[in-house]
């Protein structure tokens, strides 16, 4: 520890610099989750807001586990959670399979080409997410670019149904989240010492052996970071399944949205959110923290 970071918040402005973002986050990030928890144990009523208060008129505590019991016993919700998790997991794997060679290729290209290639990966990320999903609507349509091409070349006689299928959702997920996978992978692969791979090959390792024994373990931090950045948001994704998926492709992000806005069942929507939080976010964050701590201890 050196002089600068040894200052234990002794200056007023330092305290202020911590306090301001701290208070903001407590009010606008932590408090909302307490409210979600509170509303998830309420009953829906016809009022504004459409929930029963936690403390009733006569001062009694009004809590119910009905929403959670319903979520856990209703088969439809269990299937929806499972489907969301599986689709997000498969999309993450696809991103990894496509993103890894690309990140590797960028990391191994000449420095001048490298910055252009990186720019081309980042550019779509800056362009509106919604518009990128929209672009696929024009491609995957029954009368869209791809089908017109397939019919025109005679590969198929009739347009293939691609829009409003799970296939379209996967395309949308992989397309939207691919940069999130490539960038952390690139960051770790770029720092990797390529001499290690060459040394292994000089010592007689086959390229696949060199890859699995050297490159893959060294790239692991990037793989984990990339997978997290894709998997968590993909699980709760709303826009992509709404625009590209069929009406029967129920995913949890959309169920939450509809439960809240269409059915106006605020308590159930809150319970859906809490379960999603406990199912996905918290386990992953804990896992990530443990691994970061292990890595620190190793280093």
């Amino acid at each position: 520890m050196n002089g600068v970071s040894n200052n234990r918040l002794n200056e007023t402005w330092q305290r202020f610099a911590v306090a301001l973002p701290y208070i903001w986050l407590l009010v606008f990030f932590l408090a909302p989750f307490v409210i979600i928890l509170k509303i998830s144990v309420a009953d829906p009523v016809l009022a504004l807001p459409p929930v029963t208060p936690l403390i009733g008129d006569s001062g009694q505590l009004q809590m119910t586990a009905d929403n959670y019991v319903f979520l856990l016993t209703d088969k439809l919700y269990a299937i929806t959670y499972l489907r969301s998790l599986m689709m997000a997991a498969l999309a993450t794997l696809l991103c990894l399979a496509i993103g890894f060679p690309i990140a590797y290729g960028i990391a191994r290209s000449k420095p001048s080409t490298r910055s252009v290639l990186l720019l081309l990966i980042i550019l779509p990320f800056w362009i509106s997410f919604l518009l990128r999903v929209y672009a696929w609507m024009g491609l995957l349509n029954n009368y869209g670019v791809i089908n017109n091409f397939l019919v025109w070349t005679g590969i198929t006689s009739q347009p293939l149904q691609m829009m409003y299928t799970d296939f379209a959702i996967y395309v949308g997920l992989v397309y939207s989240y691919l940069p999130f996978m490539i960038l952390p992978l690139y960051a770790t692969l770029e720092r990797m010492d390529l001499n290690l791979v060459e040394a292994a090959q000089d010592l007689g390792a086959r390229p696949s052996e060199a890859f699995w024994n050297i490159t893959w373990p060294l790239a692991r931090p990037g793989v984990i970071a990339g997978c997290l950045l894709v998997f968590i948001p993909a699980t709760g994704e709303y826009v992509i399944p709404y625009l590209l998926g069929g009406p029967e492709s129920l995913l949890i992000g959309r169920v939450l949205f509809d439960e809240f806005f269409a059915n106006r069942d605020w308590p159930l929507a809150s319970a859906v959110a809490v379960v999603l939080l406990f199912l996905v976010v918290i386990p992953i964050v804990i896992l990530q923290r443990n691994q970061a701590r292990d890595a620190e201890q190793l280093a």
């Binding site: 200052n7 301001l20 550019l123 491609l139 699980t235 826009v239």
Partner: protein, 268 residues
């Protein structure tokens, strides 16, 4: 260094084609004269004219820009403070909670954050009467909360990569920590703050889910307007709008990239 193998090169070509073909097809179809979005009816720029005359679009764009500028500025202010606290203030009480709070908006699924914030605003309104109307203010708060994490990370990693000796030297020479921050640290992290501001601004302009939750009737941002139209299918005027947005973003990003390259070169 060995050249890339044929496999890697074909994966690169496939990857970039995958990323860009959809965008290029939108640009091409924006010049389509036909009202049917997928039938080519000859070259025309009429959809761009209709776009300019569409008041819904211009007012939604105005709201989006207003929110984007306010949210990015607030997020840069708070995010820079948080980033400095994480990188330079050493250990302080409840640092772990602070770190968690700063980072988690980044990984939280948007539907959860959006729902949570809306429920907060509704409860606050019941208790205090504020916010009376949801719109500009509430969307700005939501976007600030969500994007300050990105600013904090950019500033923190810039500070972590930066040598502390300059700051230490200034302190050894008798500079008070506050002055050292203003005279030494801030100028050094200014590029990171600018990058954070731009990222926060883009994230705000891009957001649909949070805005849909926390906005009230009448307060439609540009993505909300686009989404309500796109739900019904592909339309030529949205193609034109998408092309205009892509043009602006691409020019902005390329200019920022070239400035960045030049700065790197002069630094070397």
């Amino acid at each position: 260094m060995k050249a890339n193998s044929r496999f890697i090169i074909s994966m690169l070509s496939f990857g970039y084609a995958f990323l860009y073909i959809p965008l290029i097809s939108v640009v091409i179809y924006s010049f389509n004269d036909s009202r049917l979005a997928t039938v080519w009816g000859g070259f025309s720029t009429r959809w761009y004219g209709e776009l300019l005359r569409n008041e819904q679009v211009t007012s939604a764009l105005f709201l989006s820009l207003k929110v984007g500028i306010s949210a990015a500025t607030l997020a840069t202010l708070f995010g820079t403070m948080a980033g400095m606290a994480l990188a330079r203030f050493g250990r302080f009480r409840s640092r772990n909670l602070f770190t968690g709070l700063v980072m988690s908006p980044m990984v939280m699924p948007e539907v959860i954050t959006g729902l949570a914030l809306l429920l907060l605003f509704v409860s606050l309104q019941q208790l205090t009467g504020w916010p009376g109307q949801r719109g500009f203010g509430t969307i700005t708060i939501a976007h600030t909360t969500f994007s300050m994490a990105y600013v904090a990370i950019i500033v923190q990693s810039r500070l972590a990569a930066m040598d502390e000796s300059l700051e230490e030297a200034a302190m050894d020479l008798g500079g008070r920590p506050f002055r050292v921050m203003i005279d030494i640290t801030l100028p050094l992290i200014a590029p990171a703050m600018l990058a954070g501001w731009l990222l926060a601004f883009t994230l705000s302009l891009d957001d649909l889910v949070l805005a849909s939750f926390v906005s009230g009737p009448g307060g439609s941002t540009l993505p909300m307007l686009i989404f309500s139209k796109v739900k019904l299918g592909v339309t030529p005027d949205i193609n034109a709008l998408a092309t205009v947005i892509m043009l602006f973003v691409s020019v902005g990003v390329v200019v920022a990239w070239r400035i960045g390259l030049r700065m790197q070169r002069t630094n070397d």
